[in-house]
């Protein structure tokens, strides 16, 4: 009895290290807030501003819908082409980077390429490409291609590293060539996950393609930023609503593609499922970056 009471108290007693951690965290918050000159007056003034700002956002102004749809279409094109290029390039790169298939001298350089493609935000990569290939959609396409290589390449290489080697062994025992092993023993094991990465990346590219325009790399982002700088807030609101609609449609399409390729669904089944499960949204497997 005594031991059990003591045990229960030990469970309820706050952990000394957790307390220390919380204290340090609090100290950091105070320090960082002081560093950033965030004051209550500023917050209060901002909140006062917010009502005014929201008033100017609504109602959204769709009168320049031609410019709007042109920008959205360009964003869509950037996303499609960047995803295509990114997928095509990251397939071989992912293979080379997989340490269970390739010797170290081949996989390390490929891993280095993938890591450096991942380390910068797409918008920063877009700045460099705007300088290299000029303003316009091409810079956006190249920037998002780099981002796609970083993401798909990394996850694809990890998926290959996790495959079961039994099939590889079996196919190798039949005297298959290296390419034969890849096609028959490796690819079928990672295909479903690869489709998942690709649809996810298409979705993510669509989100970012609406943003690279801020630095001049094409798409709706340029229009958005220009409208914002002109204090043309009702147009900003129209652009934002359109971007969100585009992204939600993209997310839906990605879910359908995954259902068709990964779960082997047919159109009829999808229609029935939609009818029977109205309200429950299909889950996404990742969340970006």
């Amino acid at each position: 009895m005594v031991t059990s009471t003591a045990h229960r108290l030990a469970v309820l007693r706050p952990n000394r290290w957790a307390r220390l951690g919380a204290l340090l965290l609090l100290a950091y918050v105070v320090y960082a807030t002081a560093q950033m000159d965030v004051s209550w007056e500023r917050v209060a003034a901002g909140l006062h501003n917010a009502a005014h700002f929201l008033n100017r956002l609504f109602p959204p102004n769709f009168s320049r819908w031609e410019l709007l749809s042109k920008g959205l279409l360009e964003s869509l094109e950037i996303a499609v082409l960047a995803s295509t290029l990114g997928i095509v390039l990251s397939l071989p790169l992912g293979f080379i980077a997989a340490r269970n298939l390739m010797p170290g001298w081949a996989s390390w350089p490929a891993r280095l390429v993938i890591v450096s493609a991942r380390s910068f935000h797409p918008v920063i990569v877009a700045i460099v490409f705007v300088k290299a290939v000029g303003f316009g959609a091409l810079a956006g396409i190249l920037a998002l291609t780099v981002a796609s290589i970083g993401f798909i390449g990394k996850l694809f290489a990890e998926a290959i590293e996790e495959i079961s080697l039994k099939q590889v062994e079996a196919v190798r025992a039949t005297g298959a060539s290296f390419m034969g092993i890849v096609a028959i023993a490796v690819l079928p094991q990672v295909f479903a996950r690869f489709i998942g990465f690709c649809t996810y990346q298409l979705d993510s590219n669509l989100r970012n393609s609406t943003m690279v325009g801020i630095v001049g790399a094409g798409g709706i982002g340029g229009t958005l930023f220009a409208a914002f700088q002109r204090f043309d807030y009702d147009y900003v609101c129209a652009i934002l609503i359109s971007i969100i609609a585009l992204i939600m449609i993209g997310e839906m399409v990605a879910t359908y593609v995954r259902a068709i390729f990964i779960d082997g669904m047919t159109f009829a089944e999808m229609f029935h499922r939609r009818l029977s499960a109205l309200g429950t949204r299909p889950e996404r497997r990742f969340d970006d970056e």
Partner: protein
């Protein structure tokens, strides 16, 4: 179940499945072809790209190391503060929303739907857009950046935390309920110990993402190193740009190493 005729040829997919796949392939090809045909690419720009890249590298080298202490360091620290404070704020705000979104913790479907709507709208807006909105409200500066990071992260943290809550096992919670524990005690002694590891892992993951994202918020005026980058870009000071990019690269790598280290130690 049916008798299979001797001449039956086995196929992996049914005709309906093949139709669905074929439609997707067709749509992909159509999308790529129309995109290539309609996208505006100026060939002249493409042809002198190598020259421009060489020029860029020549202007970037040597990188302006002397600029780091006077111009970059403070902004870099501000970026890290934006990412960290934004993540903390998001954690505080996302905890209740995540709890309300989990059906087993909060068994009221309308409340779940409202919480999920909050999470979806937070995630559908890019952090740069959140930054634009907060710059409009609070004016340029780190406050707008911190709020942008926080509002973008609520959806991410809340969604994953809510899912973690929904995956908890019923055992200990039923035991607590049987002992007459109130809702708050069930939450802190039944659910929390089960989701604690995933909560901290979500927090670390999001902080890592936020360090990357906060570096670009300055491009729209929301504070941090992006503002320094923007002014260096506008003045064509490419050797300073190179310094800033190197600093960002370094911090991103350090953050990733730190996250890996902490995750190994704690979780």
């Amino acid at each position: 179940m049916n008798d299979v005729p001797a001449t039956h040829s086995w196929r992996r997919f049914t005709p309906a499945q093949r139709l669905a796949r074929f439609t997707v392939y067709l749509a992909i090809v159509a999308a790529i072809v129309t995109s290539i045909q309609t996208v505006e690419i100026i060939p002249e720009f493409l042809s002198d790209a190598p020259e421009q890249v060489a020029d860029l590298l020549r202007r970037m080298w040597p990188i302006d190391v002397a600029y780091y202490p006077k111009g970059v360091h403070a902004a870099l620290m501000e970026t890290i503060h934006i990412a960290s404070l934004g993540t903390l704020l998001a954690l505080i705000l996302a905890l209740p929303v995540g709890i309300l979104a989990a059906h087993n913790v909060c068994p009221f479907t309308p409340v779940n739907l409202v919480a999920k709507l909050i999470l979806v709208s937070s995630r559908s807006v890019n952090s740069l857009v959140w930054a634009l909105l907060f710059v409009g409200i609070f004016g340029p500066g780190a406050l707008a950046g911190t709020l942008a990071i926080a509002f973008r992260s609520i959806g991410f943290v809340g969604k994953l935390f809510g899912e973690a809550l929904e995956e908890t096992s019923r055992g200990s919670i039923e035991a607590l309920a049987a002992a007459g524990a109130p809702w708050a005690s069930r939450l802190s002694f039944g659910y929390w110990p089960q989701v604690k590891p995933s909560f901290w892992s979500i927090a670390l993951f999001r902080w890592d993402i936020n360090v990357r994202e906060s570096a670009v918020l300055g491009l729209v005026g929301a504070g941090g190193i992006g503002m320094t980058l923007d002014s260096a870009l506008n003045l064509f000071q490419w050797n300073r740009v190179a310094t800033i990019l190197a600093a960002i690269f370094f911090v991103v790598i350090l953050a990733e190493l730190a996250v890996t280290f902490v995750r190994k130690r704690i979780i």
